[in-house]
């Protein structure tokens, strides 16, 4: 865990003091809302449908027990006893009151956290593979680079008023768990043929109104060139990016309007100017940062408890089968705690559950906790011998749902239950789908299937890259849901294809059920996943299942 230096601490405290005064001046009428709005957004405070919402950054999704406990405390004291994990590794508090926000920000600063640059046209929270530093398939822990990028981008004077928001994601593995191809800049740590570490750099990915997969602009960027290169990308975008039209302002549009060749040339040109200016200070800093992400002292102990429980306890086995991932130390496992209990709100965790996770991270998990963009919580380093005890504690706390990667492990944005931008609800749709397939007792038979739901075209719920994507729209004053199939956010990233006309609110669950039943009927055995089956079969059988009524089938 990276701990704030005196510099970080002073900066965050100064911002809290500044914002506290701004809130005071807003409340006493010295500031109008027009004056105050940009100031509150700079500090992550939105006004949503029913209340304010405070978005707090969790840099590269990494927390420790102390931070988690503080989030639990904030939820209990100033909110309604919970917090919401978002698809950008942030936490959102849905019910803070404006006069309380300075105290909340102070409490965050006490544990080295803040809400700076979680809004506005700036570089947002740098996200990373939630299995970073633990995954068996990883080349290098990407978080030291993510932290370097965080420090560089925080309050960067040149990049506080970009044409539009800017999102960077990084992974250290070939298997992309960080959706790097749908980010403004996606970075993948790679080794070249000489064994040197560097990055594959993608630019111009993004979802929203114009979903695009990022283009590779560098196959191998040497490690030492990371900051000058990223700064060159931002710098070129800052000049070329359109400020006249919000819908054309993201770098993905700049890239397409300018052309990959020309923009690459401009980036490289700027890079040559910038590179000498860094003078090695960034590399010295990176070396310091690296120590903060050193692997924990792994325990060498028997794993027989795991084997025994796995054989004898079916509940433990079901959970182990879905919620564990391979760790680079084969005595260890990566544990995903599902925040997707069927019928509950995806990504919502109570303060009591956060406390439990903090305790368990300390007791069993080398004080390391991650938040995934899939809105789950991860304990990345658990010795297999401790898994039965950990599982028992999770069962007690009501967070032992065994469904990671299955149909009920749904990403859903807050939608029109909270969000002022939403055009339809997404949470109840997710709840009902999850409950329906639990009732049918089909989810394990269906196997890996990612459903992602957004309540508006901005796509916070990543619907374009869902194996089944659902987009809620307002069609003539009625909620209507468009379905896409075959999307992927992984290394085989793909934007899903629309099935056809949308569905009314009460028709979405039956529609998803028809899609899934068509898959079960057509698949080449249980070994063929939904996504593989869709790629083999194409849209037709699913379209037929969705739109052909009984009569039409009889006629045909």
């Amino acid at each position: 865990m990276y701990d704030y230096t005196d510099f970080d601490e002073r900066f965050v405290r100064e911002r809290v003091a500044q914002f506290s005064q701004q809130v005071e001046r807003r409340l006493d009428g010295s500031l109008t809302e027009e004056e105050f709005r940009p100031l509150r957004l700079m500090n992550g405070l939105y006004l949503q449908l029913h209340a304010y919402m405070l978005r707090v950054a969790i840099p590269y999704g990494t927390l420790n027990a102390a931070k988690m406990r503080q989030l639990a405390m904030i939820g209990a004291r100033w909110d309604k006893g919970y917090g919401h994990w978002t698809t950008r590794q942030n936490i959102q508090f849905n019910w803070p009151k404006l006069p309380d926000v300075p105290a909340i920000l102070t409490a965050l600063a006490d544990v080295g956290m803040h809400a700076i640059q979680t809004s506005g046209n700036t570089v947002r929270n740098v996200t990373a593979d939630h299995f970073a530093g633990a995954a068996a398939d990883e080349i290098a822990d990407p978080r030291a680079y993510a932290e370097l990028l965080r420090q560089w981008s925080t309050d960067h004077p040149e990049f506080q008023f970009l044409p539009r928001k800017f999102k960077i994601a990084i992974t250290g593995a070939v298997h992309d768990r960080a959706v790097i191809r749908a980010h403004d800049i996606g970075l993948q740590v790679v080794k070249n043929e000489r064994g040197e570490t560097g990055f594959r750099v993608l630019v111009g990915g993004g979802l929203g109104r114009t979903p695009l997969i990022g283009m590779v602009v560098r196959d191998f960027l040497p490690e030492a060139d990371l900051l000058p290169y990223v700064e060159a990308v931002l710098s070129v975008y800052n000049v070329l990016g359109r400020r006249d039209n919000k819908y054309k302002a993201r770098i993905k549009i700049t890239l397409h309007e300018t052309g990959k060749e020309e923009i690459t040339r401009l980036i490289e040109e700027r890079f040559e100017e910038l590179r000498p200016l860094f003078g090695g200070a960034d590399q010295a800093l990176l070396e310091d940062i690296r120590d903060a992400f050193a692997p924990p002292a792994f325990r060498n102990a028997p794993v027989t408890a795991f084997d025994d429980f796995y054989k004898s306890d079916p509940v433990f086995r079901a959970w182990a089968d879905t919620n564990l991932a391979a760790h680079k130390n084969d005595q260890y496992a990566i544990v995903t705690i599902s925040v997707k209990e069927q019928g509950k709100t995806p990504g919502d965790m109570t303060s009591a559950q956060m406390e439990l996770v903090a305790d368990l991270a300390e007791k069993f998990g080398h004080d390391d906790i991650r938040i995934s963009h899939e809105q789950n919580v991860i304990l990345p380093h658990i010795h297999k011998g401790d898994l039965p005890a950990l599982h028992a504690a999770l069962v007690q706390g009501g967070i032992a749902t065994a469904n990671v990667g299955l149909i009920s492990d749904i990403i859903a944005c807050p939608g029109m239950d909270y969000c002022a931008l939403a055009t339809a609800r997404s949470i109840p749709v997710a709840q009902e789908i999850a409950v329906r397939f639990k009732e049918l007792d089909l989810e394990h038979e269906i196997g890996p299937l990612k459903i992602k739901i957004s309540g508006c075209i901005n796509a916070c719920g990543h619907h374009h890259v869902g194996h089944i994507g659902i987009l809620g729209l307002d069609r003539a004053g009625v909620e209507n849901y468009q379905i896409t199939l075959g999307g992927s956010g992984a290394e085989d990233a793909h934007i899903g294809d629309k099935t056809g006309p949308g569905f009314a609110y009460d028709q979405v669950v039956p529609a998803v059920e028809r899609i899934v039943r068509a898959y079960l009927a057509e698949r080449d055995g249980p070994g063929e996943s939904f996504l593989d089956a869709f790629r083999r079969l194409g849209m037709e059988p699913f379209k037929a299942a969705l739109y052909e009524t009984g009569d039409a089938k009889d006629a045909a």
């Binding site: 409340l27 029913h50 209340a51 009151k97 709100t345 109840p428």
Partner: protein
């Protein structure tokens, strides 16, 4: 030819708590949609919105929302405004909970 004016209410969020509120005919801000002033005249609507916007120490983001008359006062016509009258659908939070105690 101008389009016919559809009735409106003035709505906003409270500055301190963020709660959704509506402007009443006697210049109060109420949590209850049915207590709002139903405005049937476009010029009057603009005046009421101006009046609302002058109260920046109490409320934020005032706007005119479509409404229709009902047995218990004005009712929203769009689902977004209907959700705003009560709160989220996943928890009994927000106004639907607060109004239980009224």
């Amino acid at each position: 030819m101008s389009r016919r004016f559809t009735p409106k209410v003035v709505t906003a969020n409270r500055l301190r708590e963020g709660d959704v509120v509506y402007l009443t005919a006697d210049d109060r801000w109420t949590l209850v949609h049915g207590e709002a002033e139903l405005i049937e005249d476009e010029a009057h609507a603009q005046l009421r919105l101006l009046h609302a916007n002058a109260q920046g120490r109490l409320i934020v983001g005032a706007y005119l929302a479509d409404a229709k008359p009902g047995p218990n006062g004005p009712e929203p016509t769009h689902f977004r405004e209907e959700f705003r009258t009560r709160g989220p659908s996943n928890y009994h939070h927000g106004k639907q909970a607060d109004l239980d105690h009224v």
